[in-house]
Amino acid sequence: MTMNQKILLAGIIFLLITGCGQNEQATPVVKPPTQQEVRETVPPTPQPKLAQVTAETRQTYQWYCAQCHGINGKGDGINAKFLTVPPRNHTKAEYLETRTDEQLFEAIKFGGLSTGRAPCMPAWGHTLDEDTIHSLVQYIRELCQCEAL
């Protein structure tokens, strides 16, 4: 080993000893927070508030929807047997769980054709306000006892 190499090696060792020691003192190790700490310090993300099913929702369903969908939502309203496409049975989860709440909302607001479904279902967007339609969607969820998959 030449003299230059010895000096270089000594310099590196010095830097490693002194430099690393200084860094350890300046930046202490930060441990990630535990899940408990996260829960306590981070405010929860606000969830969209689901519309409520009220007595008014049920009355609205009876007044308008039941004409075709039936008093109990079974698709057997007074118009049912005269329609080319039977009205949806709102107590059957098999189909309704394949529909999102948004799709149900749009079908009510803009009519069946808007969601690629039967034209027998008219648009109710000029009759019912959006809050009422949201609550009807939740009422349909109550009838089918299902959520969107």
């Binding site: 308008y64 007074i78 118009n79 329609l83 034209p119 027998c120 648009a123 000029h126």
Partner: protein, 215 residues
């Protein structure tokens, strides 16, 4: 001259009283609302009968009533049951009552009818509106109508439109479609916002629906 004026005036007043009186005498107000001060009852409002009906149809109906609402009136507690049994049948009236009844009913008017276009639809327009009637607006779901083969089809929760062209006035149809709340505070029919051209064509289409076209 003064005596003549008094005589004419008295005659007009007697005539008006007779017109108003016959609806009362025949107990029409026990089911129908005859003025806006009454509350809605168990049969269609008649306080705008003069806006809505054609007098000749009224005369025929009062002589030989036909079923307009197969499921009953919308306020009927049995409405959603779909049962047509035990429904009250509209009374028929003797020939001597008819003119006075019709005159009375036609005098019941409220302001606001929109003049509807009267020119006939072309075949193309007729086909387009028929498509919209059945598919875009879904009217056929609640109203009986005539299909292309002249057969009656459609739902029963709304009044039948099979003979609408003989029963209704075009101006009233246009007004009903554009502002139904003028006539009924809360119906079971969806509201539509049609552009004026579509509204006019729709009105004309409904006026083509007549029972003599049933095949």
């Amino acid at each position: 001259m003064k005596n003549l004026a008094i005589l004419i005036l008295s005659g007009l007043l007697l005539s008006a009283n007779a017109s108003a009186g016959i609806l009362e005498d025949r107990n029409c107000g026990s089911c129908h609302r005859l003025n806006t001060e009454e509350t809605s009852l168990t049969a269609p409002d008649l306080h705008y009968a003069g806006n809505k009906f054609q007098p000749e149809w009224l005369k025929q109906f009062l002589k030989k009533p036909e079923v307009i609402r197969p499921a009953g009136f919308i306020n009927d507690p049995e409405f959603l049951q779909g049962s047509t049994e035990n429904r009250p049948v509209h009374p028929s009236f003797p020939e001597e009552d008819l003119n006075c009844l019709v005159e009375s009913l036609m005098s019941l008017k409220i302001p606001g009818s929109t003049p509807a276009p009267t020119e006939p639809l072309s075949k193309g327009q007729q086909a387009k509106i028929k498509y919209q009637f059945e598919r875009t607006f879904g009217c056929i779901s609640c109203h009986q109508s005539l299909n292309l083969a002249g057969k009656v089809r459609g739902g029963i929760s709304g009044p039948s439109l099979v003979n609408a062209g003989n029963r209704l006035q075009a101006d009233w149809i246009a007004d009903w479609l554009s502002s139904p709340e003028t006539y009924l505070a809360k119906g079971r029919m969806p509201r539509y916002k049609m552009d004026p051209a579509t509204l006019g064509q729709f009105t004309r289409f409904i006026m083509t629906l007549k029972k003599e076209n049933i095949k």
